[in-house]
């Protein structure tokens, strides 16, 4: 078998293993209290009957390992259990919200990825001059500001002061695609601002690293124009690190969505998770945690697979 296929198979196996282990970790995370989860959920004033009912609902009378495997096998078959607060099926409530979240994240990715790569290239082209310095400054500022703050600044200036777009991003299934886009305009803008700086800075570093290689000097000494040097010699080597940067930032974006959804009251996974954390609805929290972890692990896995595919040493073994 070609060594690349073997490496990719290994990486996928590792991803699955990580997902399995992280499901155990998420499950364990809700069991770490020394006392009784039911007590923690209902508070000190709960009646013994209510506690007993909840224990039975949660299956707390079974040993932890049994509960974990029951939960895991359910999750594998698409059964994420029922919510404690309203008794609805979690998978069903989540499907619609997951779709909304992915829609929001995809819109943000479509805007931010090309923009970040373009600006990263710009920073390299003007390395050490003012566009580069301006980009570094913006990066410093944006990693120092929490996501929700960027959200409110945008709302304050664009929605309130300028009166453009709605400060609340309400979407539902009856809206047309265009209306949906209009509704998510501000959250997409904020998410773009959140990931842009990171992505730009990492793209810049990746390209600079390639541009400082000896083979770029060789190309210069062949008398090639800057465009040809970048296009023929830098680009083929920079593609893997850039895809890596993009994937890592998309993974980050999926998490950033949680906060932004709360800011804009957007009916997605993040809002759903945060609501149920305060209601201490453990099954929903576990289910959301598992989905977020799966997306995150998946993105990281794709990033690694692209690196493997782009490595000439692995593609053309000796």
């Amino acid at each position: 078998m070609h060594p690349v296929i073997l490496l990719i198979a290994q990486r996928i196996a590792l991803g699955l293993l990580l997902l399995l282990a992280s499901s155990a970790l998420i499950f364990a995370g809700t069991q770490i209290l020394p006392g009784d989860v039911a007590q923690a959920i209902l508070g000190q004033s709960a009646t013994p009957e209510a506690l007993e009912n909840l224990r039975r609902d949660l299956g707390l009378n079974d040993p932890a390992l049994t509960r974990y495997f029951n939960w895991l096998f359910g999750a594998i078959q698409g059964d994420l259990g029922t919510a404690l607060t309203n008794g609805k099926d979690i998978a069903e409530s989540m499907g619609y919200r997951l779709k909304n979240t992915l829609f929001l994240a995809a819109c943000a990715a479509i805007v931010s990825v090309p923009l970040a790569i373009f600006l990263g290239l710009l920073a390299v082209r003007y390395h050490g001059r003012w566009p580069d310095k301006a980009i570094s400054g913006v990066t410093l500022a944006s990693i120092s500001v929490p996501e929700f703050l960027i959200g409110y600044i945008v709302v304050y200036f664009i929605a309130v002061k300028l009166g453009m777009f709605s400060p609340l991003a309400m979407v539902n299934d009856s809206m047309s695609f265009w209306d949906k886009l209009n509704a998510v305009a501000l959250p997409v803008l904020v998410l773009t601002l959140v990931v842009l700086a990171h992505m730009m800075r990492m793209t810049r570093a990746a390209i600079l690293n390639v541009m400082q290689s000896a083979y770029i000097e060789t190309a210069e000494l062949k008398g090639l124009s800057s465009f040809k040097i970048i296009y023929r010699h830098a680009f083929p080597n920079a593609i893997a690190p850039i895809v890596n940067v993009v994937m890592l930032n998309l993974a980050y974006l999926v998490v950033g969505v949680v906060v932004i959804e709360v800011v804009f009251v957007y009916p997605g996974m993040g809002q759903y998770l945060v609501d149920h954390v305060s209601k201490r609805d453990v099954p929903v929290v576990q289910a959301c945690g598992l989905i977020f972890a799966a997306v995150y692990i998946g993105m990281n896995m794709i990033a690694d697979i692209v690196s493997i595919l782009a490595n000439p040493r692995l593609r053309h073994p000796k």
Partner: protein, 272 residues
């Protein structure tokens, strides 16, 4: 110490200012933390420098007390994360073997779940108190410190001068404290700044989501949450704490950058 660049001086000044304000909060704040002194969302005036909040408390006083809470929790969590992360990281690097394997694989696993998500999972069953916040934030973040400390120590551990010390017969204590630590200190100190910023942002985010510091106490993130409705009516009370968070973070960042640059220039050295 004489060649401190201007950016680092600005950073040091503001960082110092925020910490001093936090320490001296009860003496500086014009009003009490929960004291209702005026109307809802009064604009800034000579009486209320930053105006009043959603139920008529002096925003400046709340900002000063809130900053105290934010800085205290972030500092405590940073110390916890640093002590745990760097001790285990150094241990893993120097001892190696199965201890390293177990710790490193566990950290890989922890880092495969986004920090915020995992914190939310844990906070859904634990009581949200300040010690619990410090514990959860500190331990989750310790994984990042572990990675860095281990990487730095592994790099140094393979240097010929460490090998020379081992061949001389030096004990583990000498190797860690006299050979590795002095060379690992600068990158770790710079990282300390970055971790502190991360803690401030993390705590603010949790409080903003209603899962951090609980009312009637408030940190900066909590103050944003209390006043977020005002935004829609064009009242900037929620922006004020946000600006405080950003300026603190930027100041600490400037200092950390400077520490890191000093490190790299030391490595370069003369005759190198």
């Amino acid at each position: 110490m004489k060649n401190i660049p201007i950016s680092a001086l600005i950073g040091l000044f503001f960082t110092g200012l925020y910490f001093l304000t936090a320490l001296l909060a009860p003496w500086i704040a014009p009003y009490g933390m929960g004291e209702i002194v005026g109307d809802v969302w009064e604009p800034s005036s000579s009486e209320y420098l930053l105006g009043t909040d959603s139920i008529g408390r002096d925003l400046l006083s709340r900002m000063i007390y809130g900053g105290r809470t934010t800085i205290f929790i972030a500092t405590a969590a940073t110390i916890l994360s640093f002590v745990t992360g760097s001790v285990l990281g150094f241990l893993a690097a120097v001892v190696g073997g199965w201890i390293d394997q177990v710790l490193s694989r566990f950290v890989d696993l922890m880092m495969s779940i986004p920090t915020l998500i995992f914190a939310l999972v844990v906070l859904s069953v634990t009581p949200v108190t300040i010690p619990m916040l410090i514990l959860v934030m500190g331990l989750l973040d310790a994984t990042r410190v572990y990675r860095l400390a281990r990487a730095v120590a592994v790099d140094i551990n393979v240097m010929d001068y460490v090998e020379a010390a081992k061949l001389r017969g030096e004990g583990r204590g000498w190797i860690i404290f006299r050979e590795i630590l002095p060379n690992a200190l600068s990158p770790l100190v710079a990282e300390l700044g970055l971790r502190f910023i991360f803690m401030v942002l993390f705590l603010s985010t949790l409080s903003f989501l209603g899962l951090g510091v609980q009312p009637p106490e408030a940190d900066w993130g909590g103050i944003v949450k209390e006043n977020k409705e005002g935004i829609v009516y064009g009242i900037p009370a929620a922006i004020v704490p946000a600006v405080a968070i950003a300026t603190l973070a930027i100041s600490v960042n400037l200092v950390a950058d400077w520490v890191l640059n000093r490190t790299t220039s030391l490595k370069g050295g003369r005759g190198g």
